[in-house]
Amino acid sequence: MLLELNDAVLNYGKIQALHGISVEVAEGEVVSLIGANGAGKTSTMRALSGVRGLAAGSVVFDGEDVTKLRADQRLRKGLVLCPEGRGIFPGMTVTENLNMGAYTRKDKAAIEEDYDRVFGLFPRLLERKKQVAGTMSGGEQQMLAIGRALMSRPKLLMLDEPSMGLAPMLIQQIFDIITEISQQGTTILVVEQNAKQALSRSDRAYVLETGRIVKTGTGSELLDDPSVREAYLGVA
């Protein structure tokens, strides 16, 4: 397994957000984590990326226990989170934001290649290179956030709600690009409220409810599961 989250418990003060959940991602997979607001999706991402420490449990990445490592140390190992709410640096230009993605890298030539790759995936960003990121539209900011995450050459790219606040057509486009990134060889773990998109694009998925994993299966299995259909797809 490329990534294993084992029996993770995460607290905010006295409130327990994750009650011992386990998630696995194998190399080359697209795995999604679906659930309603407050189910613990973002908490899981925070725990995996190292922004928030675990009260119990462990994170194993690429065969190495990274539970005690900070977020910046995990990034260096290739475990990269593209945060919720886009999380771009609003006062920096598009180019500066992308540079931030390559902050830890020194391989100039390869960085240039990755610029081309990102601009290839998101031609829109090339047009807006010099624009201050905070003045861009929601969709463009999301593209920038994903592009920036790719600039750190992730082994595993984690995306927290990439479709949040976007129009349906844009959501489609973002997921097309996620599929393309996966086909280019990056393993992906995506957290989504838009269960239909997420499940139809994923090899496997987990359903999260109030800090616990309640169901797991392949994307198509869950798409056909009556209780999932009722709870997350709005069909009886």
């Binding site: 990326s49 190292g50 922004v51 900070r70 977020a71 910046d72 990034l75 260096r76 990269v80 989170l81 945060p83 999380g87 771009i88 640096f89 609003p90 006062g91 920096m92 500066e96 540079n99 931030m100 993605g101 902050y103 830890t104 201050v132 990121a133 905070g134 003045t135 920036r148 750190s152």
Partner: protein, 323 residues
């Protein structure tokens, strides 16, 4: 009130104000950078400056520098004193961060605890020079004003014709020294990779760490840079006033903090503008009334500016405005 005195000597008073303001501005950078990345007013920063003035005095004493040396000796002694002051101030700032603030950060202490800790550090440093070192080494340590040798004799370099304004070498060094340091710092923060890391932490600490920025390193860097700037200010201060004292940091610190707020705290260029405006206002006020009015007027200006522009003249944020 003596407006004639102000009008007649406007050029000279403005020059005085800019000189004073340059020193405020350099010290203000330390407040503004630390605030930018940590949202913390580092009340120990005034003493970071004070330590720098003592390092200058110490260097002169150790190498036996005095007034009336040859040109080569003057340059050598001044450069040595500059390096010593920068090193001492940066070291003090770093020590405060490592010993006092970092443990609090690791425990997630509330902001008030940081403020009190800063004030505590400031007192410890003041009393170290006012009392502790005096017990061990005697004078010049203690609670009295100490002379710093005027290694660099004040000379008129040229006179601006027409208005008959004499420009001295010390003025040139203070004003251009301060501005050069600020331009260099601004360039570093806006153009270098580490500077980008500083701005990233200032804008969004969590996301910055997700990009691989080590927050502790950035915070240390900011304390060291702010400290080094205060060290430069300390040397320039001794060039201008030829003295120091154990509690010299307090008044300069208050003024520099005011300058930072006036310009927009968290904003590097704001520190420059705020410092210069404050310096000029003070000198004008002490000319029109007398020097006891300088502080009152400075703070009235601060209140007025904040009434109309609550985020200061240039607004908050390190490096670039938030969109």
């Amino acid at each position: 009130m003596d407006f004639d005195a102000l009008i007649n000597g406007l050029d000279r008073h403005t020059l005085d104000g800019i000189t004073r303001g340059s020193i405020y501005a350099l010290v203000a950078l330390g407040y503004t950078m630390v605030y930018g990345v940590m949202k913390l007013i580092n009340f120990a920063h005034s003493e970071v400056f004070m330590v720098g003035t003592w390092a200058t005095l110490g260097t002169y004493t150790l190498i036996g520098a005095s007034s009336g040396m040859g040109v080569g000796m003057i340059i050598g002694a001044t450069v040595l004193a500059l390096l010593a002051a920068m090193l001492a101030s940066a070291g003090t700032a770093l020590a405060v961060e490592r010993i006092a603030y970092r443990p609090l950060r690791k425990k997630g202490a509330p902001p008030l605890i940081f403020l009190i800790t800063g004030i505590g550090c400031s007192m410890v440093l003041v009393e170290t020079f006012g009392q502790v070192l005096k017990v061990f080494f005697g004078p010049p340590f203690g609670r009295v004003l100490v002379n710093v040798p005027a290694v660099l004799p004040t000379k008129v370099v040229f006179t601006i014709p027409g208005i008959d304004l004499a420009i001295t070498n010390t003025r040139i060094i203070i004003i251009f020294g301060a501005i050069a340091m600020m331009v260099a710092l601004d360039f570093f923060v806006n153009k270098s990779r580490l500077g980008r890391g500083v701005r990233a932490v200032a804008q969004d600490p969590d996301t910055a760490s997700l990009m691989g920025v080590n927050q502790d390193r950035v915070i240390m860097l900011v304390f060291v840079l702010g400290g080094a700037m205060a060290g430069v200010a300390a040397l320039l201060f001794t060039i201008q006033y030829d003295s120091t004292k154990f509690d010299i940091g307090f008044i300069i610190g208050v003024k520099a903090f005011t300058a930072a707020v006036l310009g927009g705290i968290g904003n590097l260029r704001g520190a420059l503008i705020g410092g210069l405006v404050l310096g000029v206002v003070e000198v004008y006020a002490s000319t029109v009334w007398d020097s006891s009015w300088a502080d009152v007027t400075a703070f009235v200006v601060l209140v007025l500016v904040l009434m109309f522009r609550p985020t200061g003249l240039l607004g908050e944020s390190l490096g670039k405005a938030r969109a």
